[in-house]
């Protein structure tokens, strides 16, 4: 089972004090009952009070809990849906931060990314491509186009100088990339993210939902090694932190894998000698060009089951409320 909005389950904790308060009131009612009817009749009324107050309260809380689970949007099982889209629109989302100058990949991470992007573009036919460079900020170098000259030119000018803001804001870059698909074509939308992804943290859930909602698949390409490397400076030497220690830029491989998996994409490593072939094969598979019918597997949402159970609990609770209990109530 997978919850689309797993955070909503925290609301279940809020039900605990509510149920506790209701139970204390029930206990107080018992003592009030004894005061009203006396100890000798208490047992006769107890049964009614238990069902009337305790059971209805219990059923109500169960109904609320089931509603909360429904809000968390549980999914399990798979269903096949026909996919009408063919061909590809690919945004090449290129990290141009300083860490991309690290030389744990020859000649360096950025240059190798550029080579791989060019090779993949050259091998895929009948596609449109856009190029976005990002660091702490992002800039569209080329919008989505079939113009291969524009793509080559965009790759030529790709460098850290294109963006002045330092850092690596992958989340903001992905949002810009998702918005850069013009639509209006039957092509599938793919973001091909080349990054060393050092700072994949924080709340990406909202972003994943947006990307899935827009039918955008993210394919990640880790551009460095997990062990990392020092970052050479154009002026000579290496980048150092405030204490004078060399900065070692590693790659958040787990973060990149999660990012790809959450949007139905796949993760690749630029260190793999066959990365161009792997990427091309995968993108051709996504493109599904030339196939007559294509099916995509999607997890089945199951929230209705929990809402139906919740409504059933409420019906039971009403029935217990209105029932006459023996002669006494």
């Amino acid at each position: 089972m997978r919850f689309e909005y797993g955070r909503a389950l925290w609301l279940l904790l809020a039900l605990v004090p509510l149920a506790g308060g209701a139970y204390l009131l029930y206990r107080r009612s018992l003592s009030n009952l004894t005061y009203l009817v006396g100890q000798h009749q208490r047992v006769a009324f107890m049964e009614a009070l238990t069902f009337k107050r305790f059971v209805t309260g219990f059923l109500f809380h169960v109904a609320l809990a089931l509603g909360v689970v429904a809000i968390a949007d549980p999914h399990w099982g798979e269903q096949s849906i026909e996919d009408e889209r063919r061909g590809l629109e690919v945004v090449f989302l290129m990290d141009v931060s300083n860490s991309m100058l690290a030389e744990d990949v020859a000649p360096n991470r950025l240059a190798r990314s550029r080579e791989v992007a060019r090779a993949v573009y050259a091998r895929l036919s009948d596609m449109a491509a856009g190029v976005i460079a990002f660091k702490g900020d992002e800039t569209v170098i080329s919008p989505m186009t079939e113009d291969s000259v524009a793509f080559e030119r965009a790759m030529d000018i790709l460098s850290g100088a294109l963006v002045s803001t330092a850092g690596t804001d992958i989340e903001a870059a992905l949002r810009v990339a998702a918005d850069s698909f013009p639509g209006r074509t039957e092509r599938r939308k793919v973001v091909l993210l080349f990054t060393d992804g050092q700072e994949i943290s924080g709340n990406y859930r909202g972003l994943f939902r947006n990307l899935r909602g827009l039918d955008v698949t993210v394919v990640t390409v880790a551009t460095g090694t997990a062990a990392g490397s020092m970052i050479p400076l154009p002026t000579g030497g290496v980048l150092r932190d405030l204490d004078g220690n060399p900065v070692v830029a590693g790659v958040d491989l787990d973060g990149l894998e999660t990012l790809a998996a959450e949007t139905g994409g796949k993760h690749f490593s630029i260190n793999d000698a066959a990365v161009v072939n792997q990427l091309t094969d995968y993108l051709e598979e996504v493109s599904a060009k030339g196939r007559s019918v294509v099916f995509r597997v999607r997890e089945t949402p199951r929230y209705r089951l929990f809402v139906v159970l919740s409504v059933s609990m409420l019906v039971l609770s009403v029935l217990f409320e209105i029932r006459r209990w023996g002669r006494v109530v």
Binding site: L18, K52, G67, M144, R153, V311
Partner: protein, 333 residues
Amino acid sequence: MWVLDKPIFLLLLLPIPFLVYLRHFWTKRGGRVMMSTSMWDGEVFRPPATVQSAMLRVAHLAYWLGWVLLVLALAGPTRTTRERIYLTRGIDIMIVLDQSASMAAEDFRPGNRFETARTVITRFIGDRPGDHIGLVGFSAEAALRVPPTLDHDYLRGELARMALMELGDGTAIGMGVALSALHLQAGGAEERVIVLLTDGVNNAGEISPISAAEAAASAGIRIYAIGVGSAREAPIEVRDPETGQLYRGIVRDSYDENALRRIAELSGGQYFTASSAGTLQAVFEAIGTAQTVERRVRIHVRREHVYREILMVALALLLLDFLLRRIVLRVAP
């Protein structure tokens, strides 16, 4: 537009009036102390309106409204938006716009030639949502601003950012046409068109307009050449974006009609003159009419489920009822 995924679930609303009757109006329900008022001979007995009785009514209302919303969430309320998917490839159009200083001539009231051209081009872009449109600017040099793209928002943004004289002072028509032809060739469209707007004579660049037009024609690219401006003298005011210096004067120059006509004829296109904002608009409409292709369009419906929001409101209302009745008012069930 709003739709329900499973409207059959709305049938669950039918028992609600019965449950309301059982819970609030059925005289034989449990948990009530019944007493007769039939012997009362005075005025009709009504319980006094108090804050407590108002809260109780609010609680009842919240409870049943919560029920209705729960059932509504089960029915799967969905917001749908329609997106046009073009199944046939449109035309690739490259707009080549003169950015020389003379385009600031103010004979296209209320704006100058350049501003009017931008307004008309923006409208033209809006009328062709399925076509890949690109933008090249030229004056002393030519530069690709936008390759042919369906991303018309980006295109409009770049068009708005263009400024006069940012590519120097001069008119390199040949370079503009040649650069456009290069980028149109690199695309995949069968039908490719250049729309050239200029008010001057070619006086810069290494490629002559005729050579560029011949190259475009050999690649199967049609050129629509538009000469903008009137033969009259026109006041001009332009600021050099590099130096910030403001230039004022009178423009007397006009475009080379014969050259533009030749460029259009060579490529199988058409030549137009536009001496006012109205005629420029008419010229673009004529080009739009001439360049029509048969299109197959599919409507793709995007669905956004909103049951979660409705579920949240439903649970909040049920909780409100519980808090008011059981905790605040401590009503016996």
